[in-house]
């Protein structure tokens, strides 16, 4: 929002309201009717706020199909003492950081590439965004076949070159990272799009001036492009980190949290407990996930937004 425009608007409003009797002033004030809020607020309260607040209560109970008994923080104690639940917590953090970090870095450089004068730019932009459209389940099934350790195409190619053929989704040490790779493949398109918007918004004069001053590619990158795309970077970091922390679909369809528990994350554990009918425990897991995301995101987004450079 430009401050100049706001000032002018306020001045204009003052002039108008001075020239008109009080009834007109009241009319202008109600130009932005409060009732515009109501439908959105209604949906939000009923389907979001209400369940979220009641989940705090229910996470403190043992909840079955029929009754709920209050058990205090036992669900949480169980959650953090159970080794497999605890490791899923760690996996969630690892997964979120890796996917988010990769999307930011790869997305940024791809955006640089796609905003520079190269051949086939229009085609490249379309192709990179395309995986975003494919259903997550479809992507999961597709890669499960491509990365099958014994029959998959990827390992066939690797074998042809005499390279090792790992069990992408079946090796306990590799499973989580393979899934992260697929997630990045699918999601890098959106990151690139947002970065492209940020880069294109930088006025051309800045680049002109830098070039006239004799600055090379790297210097321009460091001193103009990166600082002036802070807004886009912040957006990508926030969106991808939140998505990574809450990720469920792609993990569930490729490994179901396996082999064993080696690729379980909070969201898949919550789902398994819900499936088994441990509703209280599952809701407690939801609360833990909520706290985790809030504790990470609120300070982070405050930090990122403060560092924005005004254009």
């Amino acid at each position: 929002m430009s401050t100049a425009g706001t000032t002018a608007a306020i001045q204009a409003a003052d002039i108008i309201t001075e020239a008109h009797p009080p009834t007109k002033r009241r009319f202008i004030k109600s130009f932005y009717p409060t009732w515009f809020f109501i439908p959105a607020v209604a949906l939000y309260v009923v389907f979001f706020a209400l369940p979220t607040f009641s989940s705090f209560y229910f996470s403190l109970t043992r909840w079955s199909l029929f009754d709920s008994t209050f058990i205090g923080f036992e669900n949480y104690a169980q959650f953090f003492s159970d080794p497999q639940l605890y490791t899923s917590f760690i996996h969630t953090l690892i997964y979120a950081v890796i996917t988010s970090g990769a999307k930011v870095i790869i997305g940024f450089f791809l955006a640089l590439l796609l905003t520079s004068p190269i051949v086939g730019r229009g085609y490249l932009r379309a192709v990179i965004f395309f995986p975003v459209l494919i259903s997550t389940i479809g992507v999961g099934i597709m890669f499960k076949s491509l990365l099958d350790p014994f029959h998959g195409m990827v390992n066939a190619v690797l074998g042809f070159f005499g390279l090792p053929q790992p069990g992408w989704f079946t090796d306990p040490n590799l499973a989580l990272y393979s899934i992260a790779g697929v997630d990045i493949w699918k999601g890098v398109g959106i990151a690139t799009l947002i970065f492209m918007a940020g880069i294109v918004a930088i006025p051309a004069e800045y680049f002109e001036a830098a070039r006239i001053d004799g600055a090379g590619g790297w210097k321009i990158l460091r001193q103009i492009t990166v600082p002036l795309t802070r807004g886009a970077t912040a957006t990508v970091i926030i969106l991808s980190l939140i998505g990574g922390l809450r990720s469920f679909d792609i993990i569930w369809v490729t490994t179901g949290g396996g082999p064993g528990f080696t690729s379980d994350v909070l969201a898949s554990v919550i789902y398994k407990q819900y499936q088994a009918g441990f509703f209280g425990l599952s809701t407690a897991g939801n609360v833990v996930l909520f706290l985790l995301v809030t504790v990470i995101m609120v300070p982070l987004s405050a930090f990122l937004n403060r560092k924005q450079v005004e254009l």
Partner: protein, 277 residues
């Protein structure tokens, strides 16, 4: 100058080849599998089908299991269109007022909007609410839930963009005798077109491909959506990989069509400098 042109060509060609391998080959694999016989498809090899039966598989997949794939596409389409329409209208209205109106409530509202983005939905209590409203396991219930979950993202975007529209336009319209609703519909909304397009595309893709939502809130074979159908289809057709991949292909078609339609609009909207982070 020509050194720059050669560089443009070389980098371009490398990028095209790499992108084709990374992004197009997997999809080519899907298409090839979708054209094979069941026995050949279960080999999972990246090979040309010896017996090309694309149309046969197309028909079999569509009619398999009572046409579940087809029903899923219809359900998902209805769900997507209705919930996206609902959330766009509601959040445009809310974002508009949020941006324009100076109120001491604004920081509070902003906090709740951000919370809606961060906080994961509390599943079981939401099921309870839906059950109380007799909406659990119904498409209207799912529509309302999807619309609610999309509100935050849309409101944030709309609020930012309305901020870019100068207030003088509002004043001018008022002077011309416009009422508040007409001001919104005929002056502000048209100027928000790039945002609306962006929001529609992003949210439509999200809702269409939502797996966890219908998994929890929309059980039942009649209501099956695209992701869920594909998931159960994969479990049922253990020996029919060709049909499975055909199903993946079929499910990719609607978003693909939408993308081809709106592609130019998105890129134009975003690269016109409208988004400032």
């Amino acid at each position: 100058m020509s050194r720059q042109r050669t560089r443009a060509w070389i980098v371009g060609i490398i990028a095209i080849i790499v992108s084709a391998v990374v992004f197009l080959v997997p999809f080519a694999f899907v298409l090839l599998q979708a054209a094979k016989t069941p026995a050949e498809a279960s080999n999972l090899a990246f090979s040309w089908p010896t017996h090309w039966q694309f149309l046969q598989n197309f028909w079999d997949t569509l009619t398999s299991n009572d046409g579940v794939i087809w029903r899923a596409i219809i359900n998902s389409a209805v769900l997507t269109i209705t919930s996206v329409t609902l959330m766009v209208i509601l959040s445009a209205m809310a974002g508009y007022v949020l941006s324009r109106k100076r109120s001491k409530w604004n920081p509070v509202v902003n906090f709740f909007v951000l919370a809606g983005l961060i906080v994961p939905p509390a599943v079981v209590p939401t099921i309870w609410v839906l059950q109380d409203l007799q909406l659990f396991g119904t498409l209207p219930g799912m529509i309302l839930v999807e619309a609610t979950f999309g509100l935050s993202f849309c409101i944030l975007l709309f609020r930012a963009f309305v901020g870019n529209i100068p207030r003088e336009l509002d004043e001018a319209a008022v002077l011309d005798g416009a009422g508040p609703v007409r001001l919104f519909l005929q002056v502000v909304l048209p100027l928000l077109r790039p945002v609306i397009v962006t929001v529609i595309v992003v949210q439509a893709v999200f809702v269409f491909n939502d797996f966890a939502g219908p998994l929890y809130f929309l059980p039942g074979d009649q209501n099956v959506t695209v992701q869920l159908a594909l998931y159960t289809f994969s479990g049922q057709n253990l020996s029919f990989y060709n049909l499975l991949f055909m199903a993946i292909f079929l499910i990719t078609i609607p978003p693909l069509i939408a993308y081809i339609f709106f592609n130019r609009q998105i890129v134009a909207g975003i690269t016109s400098g409208a988004v400032k982070g």
